[in-house]
Amino acid sequence: MTKDDYKKLVKKHTPKEPKLRNIVVAFFVGGFIGFIAEFLIYMLQESFGMSKVIAGSWTCLIIIVISSILTAFGFFDNWVNKCKCGLIIPTTGFAHSVTGSALDYKKDGLITGLGSNIFKLAGSVILYGVISAFIFVVIRVVING
């Protein structure tokens, strides 16, 4: 059997990802989280008289706490497998990756395991966020003089 034949055979037998269903699921799950966030901001503004910015920060924190706790109980891993980007793209994904890697490496000890691996997945988001923010601020400053 040549390499190409083998590749065709593998392709034939790998289960097809239901792409359309994935997109629909991601749309509704992601949309639901956006809706919850907007709802929380509205409720905090109405019931505690917070400004929009403070209500937004509280909402961000609440979403992070809830997804950390759900990750710790093990629900979130299954949900991420099913909903994929619906949960990865919102802030839930950030909290999930931090908590997930903290839990996974806890067995290697508090310093060499948890401490050095807690940003294993979320590190790239922080790194490239900071680098791009810095570069764009410099560009903006250069343009404005």
Partner: protein, 116 residues
């Protein structure tokens, strides 16, 4: 009506990410990084503030908001304190997200048992 806009915007962003994930070799790590950078770009272009006004929680709940917060706080820092302000103010707005994630991830992982 605001709720509907928030739903549609967050849903659209997530389904675009899902299309990228299914049709390319990029991993979720790539996509979240790309979204963060996109957030910084949109903030640089001055669009992200308008998006937040229009879509509210739908825009602030996404990871791209992280890039927006980093850029806008760094730029405000520059305006207030000059070059040093970029470094001293980079995390002011996103501090809640980062500190919250670290603190609760740590507390929760002390209590919870890792599954194997």
């Amino acid at each position: 009506m605001n709720f509907l806009y928030a739903f549609l915007f967050a849903g659209a962003a997530c389904s675009i990410a899902q299309i990228i994930l299914d049709n390319t070799k990029l991993t979720p790590g790539h996509i979240t990084s790309i979204y963060t950078v996109i957030g910084a770009v949109l903030s640089f272009l001055g669009v992200y503030d308008d998006i937040i006004v229009k879509f509210g929680g739908g825009a602030t709940a996404l990871i791209s908001n992280f890039g927006h917060m980093l850029y806008s706080s760094a730029y405000q820092g520059y305006m207030a304190e000059g070059l040093l302000g970029i470094f001293t103010n980079m995390f002011t707005k996103s501090s809640a997200a980062i500190a919250g994630a670290i603190i609760f991830a740590f507390l929760v992982s002390l209590v919870a048992k890792p599954k194997d």
